[in-house]
């Protein structure tokens, strides 16, 4: 799923001038050229209100724009369709000044009415948007969610180029939400014309437009000649071929038939590719802001005992698990990934010490260990990682039976109060939706997320930390940003004192591209537009 990187401190100046610190264009970049990208699965939808998988995330970014945007290859916010914005003193009202002369790909000029329409649409239950909840801090959201209103009270059109958004609580992450795909601006008449098929006939203001979609075979993006960012994008055309096995895609890439293997380098081929200097030179790697962890369900004995959870934390050999995946990760001892604001480089967490773990377990009354179950998503390398965890646990006398299941079944079991004693999160959780530490707490470690069907698989609930999190997110004044991040570091430190997880590693992402493609490495491992920022890469002249 989405892997959005940590931002630098939120730049929340009271009125942001247009493009103060923007992207410096690559001097070698030239417009023109066509590229081919392959994927195994067909693309689900290109509707920004619906699309929520790692494959369509970056494609939607190239077709649509939001009020806010990120500097390419970074997590720094920059203005998008809004040229600038003002924030009221209490941080509760944002006034966005739209750029003049922006056109949808159907030729019509984009106005403030479209912004209101798009935000109303994404929060309307009938739209079935998975991202509706991100807008819960906008005034009137609750009435949209329960069906008693059909438009957001907090979103007002002031004039054709001005939109005013009022919040119901201070929300330090609001501008990040305005840069999420779910808040992208759609053309009302196109949505009404296509109805539920809008995801197949998208109309936005983006750098590209969809010109062909042959179901199960290919999609073609062509450059939007009227794009409002002058000189962008660089490519004339991108063909996305679907239905291609990753191993075959790699063979085709090596043969020069395609430019980017969208599904990455298959694990079985990784060592071979990296051993060849010529191929290795085409691989871009970037630490992704993701954490892989083991949850221990506090509702299930003996994980209700802190000593037991601490002992398990000391029992896991994270270096060995990292070796199992060819070193495509860095071991970690805390919740937040490095680079995410709030990450504490001095926090070491529990060290690997099986002897101490065994002693602690004995102290907790489990000198002979105990039996439990470890749930895991059944695709490689997760079952192999689970076996390593199983061995580590056996070393301290804990017998864990592995339940290797389809992704949906593991997620289901994790959401139930007592079904899954332990879960290895690989392939399912957790990578941030936007670069802010609150996204690593609310959905996976808060009391609310421990409700049935939530993603707090440890069913960990610490009311003091919930209150601290709410207080941290109310610090909307830019001058408080450093304090806010300190508050988040403290919250995450206290989480690890309760040890509901064993944080295991942070994955590194690898993308391989053909030698004829140019552009900074960061564009091929873009923290926001996974996996590739298609608007800024180019074909070498």
């Amino acid at each position: 799923m989405k892997k959005l990187l940590a931002s630098t401190a939120l730049v929340l100046a009271l009125s942001v001038p247009a493009l103060a610190q923007d992207y410096t264009p690559d001097p070698a970049a030239k417009q023109g050229g066509e590229i081919t990208v392959t994927y195994h699965d067909d693309v689900a939808t290109l509707d920004p209100a619906i699309g929520y998988d790692w494959q369509n995330w970056s494609m939607i970014k190239s077709l649509f724009d939001g009020l806010m945007d990120y500097v390419p290859g970074t997590t720094t916010l920059r203005p998008g369709l809004a040229e600038s914005y003002d924030v009221s003193k209490d941080g509760m009202t944002f006034t966005f000044h739209l750029r003049a002369g922006v056109k949808f790909t159907n030729g019509r000029a984009m106005t403030a009415d479209d912004v209101k329409y798009s935000l109303d649409r994404v929060t309307l239950p009938a739209t079935q948007s998975p991202g509706a909840g991100f807008f819960s801090s906008i005034k009137g959201y609750d009435k949209m969610a329960d069906g008693s209103a059909t438009n957001l009270e907090g979103v007002k059109v002031v004039d054709p180029l001005t939109v005013e958004i009022t919040l119901n609580r201070p929300d330090a992450t609001f501008l990040q939400v305005m840069a999420l795909n779910f808040s992208y601006i759609v053309a009302k008449e196109a949505v009404e014309a296509s109805g539920a098929d809008f995801g197949k006939h998208p109309v936005g203001t983006g750098a590209f437009k969809l010109t062909d979609w042959t179901l199960g075979q290919q999609l073609v993006f062509e450059r939007n000649a009227d794009y409002w960012r002058a000189g962008e994008p660089y490519l004339d055309k991108i063909t996305f071929q679907v239905g291609q096995e990753p191993v075959v895609a790699l063979l085709r890439l090596q043969k020069g038939e395609i430019d980017i293997a969208g599904d990455g380098i298959p694990p079985a081929k990784f060592t071979e590719v990296m051993a060849d200097p010529a191929q290795k030179a085409l691989v871009v790697s970037q630490a992704s802001l993701q954490t892989g962890y083991i949850t221990m369900n506090l509702n299930v004995a003996p994980f209700d005992k802190l000593e037991v959870r601490e002992a398990i934390n000391m029992a896991i050999n994270k270096d060995r698990i990292t070796q199992i995946i060819n070193g495509r990760a860095t071991p970690t001892g805390q919740v937040l990934p490095p680079g995410m604001p709030g990450y504490d480089p001095d926090f070491k967490g529990f060290a690997y010490d099986p002897a101490a773990a065994k002693a602690l377990l004995a102290k907790a009354g489990f000198a002979d260990g105990f039996e439990t179950q470890l749930f895991v998503y059944n695709t490689d390398p997760n079952p192999r990682i689970a076996q390593a965890i199983q061995q580590d646990l056996a070393n301290i006398g804990v017998k864990a039976a592995i339940q290797s299941l389809a992704q949906a079944n593991v997620i289901q079991a994790g959401g139930e109060p007592t079904s899954a004693p332990m879960i290895w999160s690989g392939g399912m959780a957790w990578a941030a939706d936007f670069p802010d530490p609150s996204d690593f707490f609310g959905p996976i470690l808060s009391c609310q997320a421990a409700d049935p069907g939530g993603w707090n698989w440890a069913h960990y609930c610490n009311k003091d930390l919930d209150a601290a999190a709410t207080a941290a997110d109310a610090m909307t004044d830019p001058a408080q940003t450093a304090d806010r991040m300190k508050a988040w570091s403290a919250i995450m430190g206290k989480v690890m004192a309760d040890a509901p997880w064993v944080p295991v590693f942070n994955e590194t992402r690898y993308t391989m591209h053909s030698p004829r493609l140019g552009g900074a490495s960061a564009l091929y491992a873009d923290p926001v537009a996974t996996p590739v920022n298609f608007d800024y890469i180019y074909v070498k002249p």
Binding site: P130, G199, L215
Partner: protein
């Protein structure tokens, strides 16, 4: 004849209803919630509840099933949960490629399988027979993924005789069809061999030989039509298998068939697609068997339809 047809059609409708009910029920009791899959990781509880209500998944099982059947009677397979596209449109877009690969695949299976089977039967117990039967055993047990990749690597990547996957021209069709031919030929070879051996021992073959007919004429004109009956019944079943999709071969050769659609839908618990593919496949098996039943009397006059 008319009453037989009517009886078979009613039987077929009941079979399809049964298949629909069982599949729907299994998907209903599955310990995985499609709404969670649609809603993704960050959806709030009220978003999940709203999506569940919009899709009618908060209704009791029988109500959901009857609504689905009602849709089917109007030719409406529903919309995919995740792609939001009409399922009928998704299936229709995959149908040409599926039918083409089915026809080419079965042709290759028969060409290889029947040749091997007949040759083995005629050399029963001798070296050729043993080699052929061992080969058929290997093809039946060979993993699809390995055979597909091997052929792709040798003939497309190394020799560049064929494109590395894709769909559209005859050259794209050759490798996947040959792969399916190799993989499926073993079944036909073994069936053809045993059937042929049985027929070759029959009295009328001895008579034909005694008349002094050439060996070729005995085999092709007298033995083959009698030995081929079980093979025709098997083709009927094979059609159903192909319509359900040949996931691995389609995947390796990037062939846009139904199998890829089904595989993706199963991964995402996209119930409307899973239901539709299952039903299409069941319909194909039923039609394939019906056709086989109707063709057999033309080949073997001893069998009559009543």
């Amino acid at each position: 004849m008319a009453s037989y047809l009517l009886r078979r059609l009613i039987q077929s409708a009941l079979i399809l209803l049964g298949v629909a009910f069982i599949t729907f029920f299994l998907l209903y009791v599955l310990p995985a919630d499609p709404v969670r899959q649609i809603a993704g990781r960050s959806a709030s509880p009220e978003t999940v509840a709203n999506i569940r209500r919009e899709l009618g998944l908060d209704q009791p099982f029988i109500a959901q099933f009857l609504r689905y059947l009602g849709g089917l009677l109007h030719g409406d397979f529903g919309r995919s949960y995740l792609q939001k596209t009409q399922v009928a449109e998704l299936i229709a877009s995959r149908l040409p490629a599926t039918l083409l690969l089915m026809a080419a695949g079965i042709t290759c299976e028969l060409a290889l399988g029947l040749t091997m089977g007949i040759a083995a039967a005629l050399t029963k117990g001798r070296f050729t027979d043993q080699i052929l039967m061992m080969t058929s055993f290997v093809t039946v047990s060979a993993p699809q993924f390995v055979v597909s990749l091997l052929l792709l690597y040798v003939f497309a990547v190394q020799l560049s005789w064929f494109p590395v996957g894709g769909y559209g021209t005859f050259r794209h069709l050759v490798l996947p069809a040959v792969t399916l031919g190799i993989l499926g030929s073993g079944w036909y070879a073994r069936m053809m061999r045993s059937s042929m051996i049985e027929v070759m021992a029959a009295d009328f073959i001895r008579t034909a030989r005694a008349k002094g007919l050439t060996r070729a004429r005995v085999v092709l004109r007298h033995a083959l039509p009698n030995a081929i009956l079980p093979v025709i019944a098997m083709i009927g079943i094979d059609i159903g298998v192909f319509m359900g999709g040949v996931v691995v071969v389609e995947s390796v050769f990037a062939w846009p068939g139904i199998g890829q659609l089904a595989w993706q839908a199963i991964q995402r618990i996209d119930i409307p697609i899973i239901m539709a593919v299952t039903l299409v496949s069941a319909v194909a098996i039923v039609i394939g068997n019906l056709l086989a039943d109707f063709i057999i009397p033309f080949i073997d006059p001893r069998i009559k339809i009543r």
